[in-house]
Amino acid sequence: MKLEVGERTGRNHPKRALCLSIIPGLGQLYNRRYGKGSVFFILFAAFIIVFYDILNIGYWGILTLGTLERVDDSRMLLAQGIIALILTVFAIGFYLFNLRDAYKDAKRIQQGWRIPSLRESFQQAWDKGFPYLLVGPGLVFLIFTVVFPLLFMIGLAFTNYTLYNAPPRNLLDWVGFENFVQLVTVPIWRETFFSVFSWTLIWTFVATTCQVGLGLLLAIMVNDPRIKFKKFIRTILILPWAVPAFVTILIFSAMFNDNFGAINRDIFIPLFGHGFPWLTDPFWARFALIMIQTWLGFPFVFALFTGVLQSISSDWYEAADMDGANRWQKFRHITLPHLLFATAPLLIMQYTGNFNNFSIIYLFNQGGPPIRGQNAGGTDILISWVYSLTFENSQYSMAAAISIIIGLIVAGFALFQFRRSRSFKEEGSI
């Protein structure tokens, strides 16, 4: 590429620069920004040279998932393929930047802009690029610790990875949506999936609403001016939150034992003459779980609401008293809207948390009690069911497929929550 030397203001063609930059750096050289051009070209060449092997094996791997049993490990190839894809995305980003840069510089030169010296342009780049330099490493790290495993899981959902078809002995194949189709067509999956899914929804709404309701009730009661020893009572009510949930659940699990647990032995049998089958009957097991979750979850909501209650100005209530509002009206039209406006995003998060509350289900009764004719227990929620599928039946692909469904549901919750939070920000008129 021969460049004419001499003053050429106004003779640079942006389109020509753009076309030259199909090989990064050339457009910049054409704009006579030699430093920048060579940096771009070196970066481009280095990328190709260094990553050629990774990209080559990666793309080949993700397309074929290997061709030789015992030599190719499909899981590794899938991982390498995903890394290759991520690198490609980076490269395309850089490439587009390079095109835009060549085009814009050429345009500016056309308009009579003086080309900065090497030092000046370095200074400019430093000033502009400094924030990116700070954010960059974190971003790259995030891509490899969050995005990469997520993509890997999504990849697995479309393969046939089970115990009987496991690397390194066997190769995996892409099977498209077969796992998802099986989930709704094969009877044992279908029946269990819908019964587990419906209980998961009931569990999420009932348990969370109970814990929020109890927290609300207690917060308002303790906030009443006639109550003495407020600090002491609040401290006591925070305790269930302070004790690690793991410990609490295991102790409850022992206390609810039908024959040996304190709840039947020391409370129900002496008082009513008979106990309840807490661990052996699905209905009572669910009932017990919801009560335990209420116990574990209300202190957080209580603390949250107590804080918000402090911040409601008393002018509101005085004005309401002037208008002759009764207690219920004051609660309904002043207290509740304030509380919910301020805390809605956090409350939605409570729902999301319970939707995936693996630990309580697993620790209390391992998802039991058994139900005749179904391969999930009476209290299994989606996440605990997936866990047992993966560990007992080694259906890795299916577990990944169900995880994607769970992920989409939770993402839906989160999206809803962000939209709500934004609308509150815009509300702002309270």
Binding site: W60, G61, Y95, Y103, A166, T280
Partner: protein
Amino acid sequence: MKKATSLLSSAVFVVTLTGLLTACGPDRDEGNGSASEGSATPANEEQDGAAPEKPEVLTMWVNDEEVQLDAYEQIVEKYEEETGISVEITPFSMLDQLESLSLDAAAGGGPDLFYQPNDRLGDIYLQGLAAELELTSEQLEGYTEGAIQALNYDGVQLGIPAVIETYALYYNTELVPEAPKTIEELEQIAADLTNASADEYGFLFEGTNFYYLYPFIEAHGGYVFDQDGEGVYDTSNIGLANEGTVEGANLIQSWYEAGYLPVGITDDIIKGYFRDGQVGAVISGPWNVSEFSEALGDQLAVAPLPTIDGKNLSSYSGVKGWLVNEYSENQYWATDLALYITNPESALTYFEVAGELPARTDVEIDDELRQPFLQQAEYAVPMPNIPAMSSVWDPMGDAFEFISQGEDPQEVLEEAVQQIADKIALQEN
């Protein structure tokens, strides 16, 4: 316009890049698929009695418990003296070994020897992680028959047994002076001592855990999977709802009905009551010896399980053993090392240091609380080591939960077998 051009050119770029890359793939001869069976050339096993050249170092993964590490340090020291091969021990939890092997072994990141329980054998075989061992009958002499079987998958010997564990009858001599010999004597003890309102019981065991229930089923002719003469399991033939199993289940149910076994009993409750001297006898494994003897002192004694119709009960045994890495380059010497660290002398050292029972019949151990477990081990059968077994535990546990609540065993067991079959079909599809 600008947009169009940039789009166009980026499309050009992507196309050229993928064109560059579409994956010519790795540079190699695709024709040697079969030759690559274990890129390590398998040691030519004594075709003319000559052993392959000794490697300088053999590596082994030992479960990361201090006593076990100590024991193996002592054992391999002798091996090093005798052979001049140095042995490198890496502490590595038994439960995490497979995951690591499955990911790294093919790339050469595994040890020569690794250590696994027999119930993982199916996973190991299906992932192709362990070398198939060709062992002569004299090499296998002295090992407990069942332990050898336990590490044999579908007729392929994959491992060399190191330790065996099974359960037996612990009893409290204060309450039960003489160990019950027969099941009738055991029932008599239960009838005499059980007083549920005071939390006193004659004998207890985890009556909804199939691991402990199996001998009572097997005694009447129940079985899990049918086995042919080679020891290969036929998963389509499940014997868990046949007459024998139902008879065994009826026996267990009668204990629930008589109140000998309370509903909802758990391992923790059993251990607690036995430690407090409220139970005459319990069925449990050697892992509780130290805990029980601490609590009961001289009152503690152990005996093999009682007989049913004059026949010793076949308890389930678990076997742990040494496997040779499929990708090891020194398979011959790794096998040699595995045989050495499980020979009578090493097994005795291991028992003395780590306290686990040797899977050998030719080792005499002098420990009256542990010796009965070894006696019981002679009648024990290994848990099936095929993956299908993982589909058995839960449905059977659930079935016995229903049985303990008084449901009809025949019906419940038929449902359980149906579930097991469904699960296996699901697993194998």
